[in-house]
């Protein structure tokens, strides 16, 4: 029921371009993450959607209706702010009922909705508390309940979980995702945490330097990053300099490797970057040479219990491999080994 389209949206602050020419469709009922490093324009973009910033160029369409000039208070978009922005002079219940009060709903309706919402965010009975008496996680839930109070057409969250500790954050990610799916509300979340984006979203929009770099499902972006920036930002990646020698062949420090088809924009004979995820790299003992296997030497082993990370030096390049404990390669520091870069897992990117 609520599909948002951004057409050529841009924002300039004096001489600084915060957002440049963004075309984006947020499908109805989906959760979309705007992901990028700080200063990439993702917060400005969500503020434009909320109506808190006016775009310099472009238009916003909600179900085909132009809302570019509609002020924030007439949009009915629920928003959770980075600072949460809970009203310090009101109780939990008064905070959640604020939107209803502004709408002029009567007391009984307000109370009913507040207890419904408190139930939904699993804080029943806390309505009379003051904001200062709540823990970080509880404040988070109150902010979510308040934003959903008016059954908004769009649910916006600006780095909502950044103030929580790691464990609580992971739990809230799952909870927020389940809540969003249950309500079927079109949602946009801004985050710089790629794990958060991967956990929660239907669609990830990777931003960098005021532009949208890639739009896709989490797995698509993880498997097929469009450039080295995305590959490096989404998870960790081995980025190795190579020379293209054929349609499916590259040269890595004198070793010829097979890769999936290389895009036409990368010239034959030109320099390129080979990206491969650490968990796709296999470490094997010396003497088992074969296709896409290159010799190296173990320089560092990090065993963190849940996974084992092996760093190898292959002709001066560092290749990192991550394996689960049961696949732990039987190598020790300084061993001569070969690393296998399976062709299907390799992605060749222009530099």
């Amino acid at each position: 029921m609520a599909e948002l389209q951004l057409k050529g949206v841009g924002k300039r602050f004096d001489s600084v371009t915060a957002v440049e020419n963004v075309d984006l469709t947020i499908p109805d009922g989906k959760l979309v993450c705007l992901l990028g490093p700080s200063g990439c324009g993702k917060t400005t973009l969500i503020r434009i959607v909320a109506g808190l910033e006016e775009p310099t160029t472009g238009r916003l369409l909600l179900d085909g209706e132009d809302i570019t000039g509609l002020p924030a208070h007439r949009r009915n978009f629920g928003m959770v702010f980075q600072s949460l922005a809970l009203f310090p002079h009101l109780t939990v219940a008064e905070n959640i009922a604020y939107g209803l009060r502004i709408r002029g709903a009567d007391r009984a309706a307000q109370n009913k909705r507040v207890s419904e919402l408190l139930e939904m965010v699993q804080l029943p009975g806390l309505g009379e508390r003051h904001i200062a008496q709540l823990s970080g996680g509880q404040r988070q839930r109150v902010a979510i309940a308040r934003a959903l109070g008016l059954e908004p057409r769009l649910f916006l969250l600006d780095e909502p979980l950044s103030a929580l500790d790691a464990k609580l954050r992971e739990a809230m990610q799952v909870e927020l995702r389940l809540l969003q799916q249950r309500l079927g509300i079109t949602t946009i979340i801004v985050t710089h945490d790629q794990r958060e984006a991967m956990t929660m979203s239907d669609l990830v929009v990777v931003m960098g330097d005021a532009k949208v770099l890639q739009i896709g499902t989490p797995l698509e972006i993880y498997r097929n990053p469009v450039n080295t920036f995305v590959a490096d930002f989404i998870g960790s990646s081995n980025l190795l300099p190579v020379t293209v020698t054929g349609r499916q062949r590259v040269d890595l420090a004198g070793q010829s490797l097979t890769t999936p088809s290389i895009g036409a924009e990368i010239a034959n004979g030109g320099a390129a970057t080979l990206s491969i995820r650490p968990e796709d790299v296999h470490v094997l003992p010396r003497g088992t040479e074969g296709e896409n296997r290159i010799p190296g030497k173990v320089t560092f082993i990090r065993d963190v219990g849940a996974s084992v990370e092996t760093h190898s030096d292959c002709s001066g390049m560092e290749v990192i491999s991550v394996a689960s404990p049961k696949d732990r390669p039987s190598v020790v520091l300084g061993d001569e080994i070969v690393v296998e870069l399976p062709p299907a897992s390799c992605v060749v990117l222009s530099q």
Partner: protein
């Protein structure tokens, strides 16, 4: 924090210096004034030690009751006017860019350098018939003939507010600039227009600062004794004017001292009351 008696010499010094200052500049003069307020006045002379309540008894007449009431009313009104104008002004000020904020603050600080005397005479001139702004309005065709607006109650209120306005802004500025800018934005996304946001979020969230500033302006204008004489008519003279009059012109120091103490007690009581009411609502 360490409590109890200071042990070292420097510890003693750091405590005794403020104590000494407080004694010399506050406790001693105040005690002298309190004592004089009970002394006996010698007609045509000065005063002699004694103990009588006659000075205090004199307040309980209609004349002084009216003056006290009027003084409290004038200061209360000035405080309310200053907050009504100063609060939105300070809010807009904190919304400006840093550089422009500094310009405004420097301007306000420079207004502070003007004394009550200069402010009083300037306004009485600006509001006069012969040289005042009404001549400008006549020249612009807005009025038929120049009029005199001073002395009068409006002129007095204008002068007091002009005097207290920079203090109001400077006192509201720190808490206002610490206000989370996302608070009004959150109210906007919840459907509140900018005006409703101002009254339902910004004003209540700053209640503590508003109460503190009200008290400050109230007490500050209560002490003004020149402006009522320069910009007001005799019926607009406040208790501070009467105290000056009794002390300097009538040489009745015991009565002046008694009035000063009474004024202080009444304003303290009012300040305490405001504080209690403000604090109670904060906790509820």
């Amino acid at each position: 924090m360490r409590r109890g008696r200071p042990e070292s010499l420097t510890g003693w010094l750091s405590v005794s210096w403020p104590t000494l200052m407080l004694c010399v500049f506050f406790v001693v003069p105040f005690t002298i004034m309190a004592a004089i307020s009970f002394f006996h006045r010698v007609e045509g002379g000065f005063y002699e030690p004694g103990f009588e309540l006659a000075n205090y008894a004199r307040f309980f007449t209609f004349f002084f009751g009216r003056i006290l009431g009027f003084s409290l009313f004038v200061s209360g009104l000035a405080a309310v006017v200053c907050i009504t104008l100063g609060f939105p002004f300070t809010y807009m000020l904190t919304r400006l860019r840093r550089r422009r904020q500094v310009v405004w603050l420097v301007f306000l600080l420079s207004v502070l350098s003007l004394s009550e005397v200069i402010i009083g005479f300037s306004w009485s001139m600006l509001l006069s018939r012969t040289a005042g702004v009404s001549n400008l309005f006549v020249a612009l065709g807005l009025m038929d003939k120049p009029v005199s607006w001073s002395p009068g109650f409006a002129a007095l209120m204008l002068g007091l507010c002009y005097l207290a306005f920079p203090y109001t802004v400077l006192m509201l500025y720190p808490p206002m600039s610490r206000l989370d800018p996302q608070l009004p934005e959150a109210a906007r996304t919840l459907g509140a227009s900018p005006l409703r946001t101002f009254f339902t979020v910004i004003v209540p969230a700053q209640r503590g600062a508003i109460v503190a500033t009200l008290i400050m302006v109230f007490v500050f204008t209560l002490g003004a004794y020149l402006l009522p004489q320069l910009l007001g008519r005799p019926q607009h003279w406040t208790l501070s004017v009467m105290i000056t009059d009794q002390a300097i012109l009538q040489s009745n120091l015991p009565f002046a001292a008694a009035m000063a103490i009474f004024l202080m007690l009444v304003s303290l009581a009012l300040v305490g009351l405001t504080y209690v009411i403000g604090g109670e609502r904060d906790r509820s």
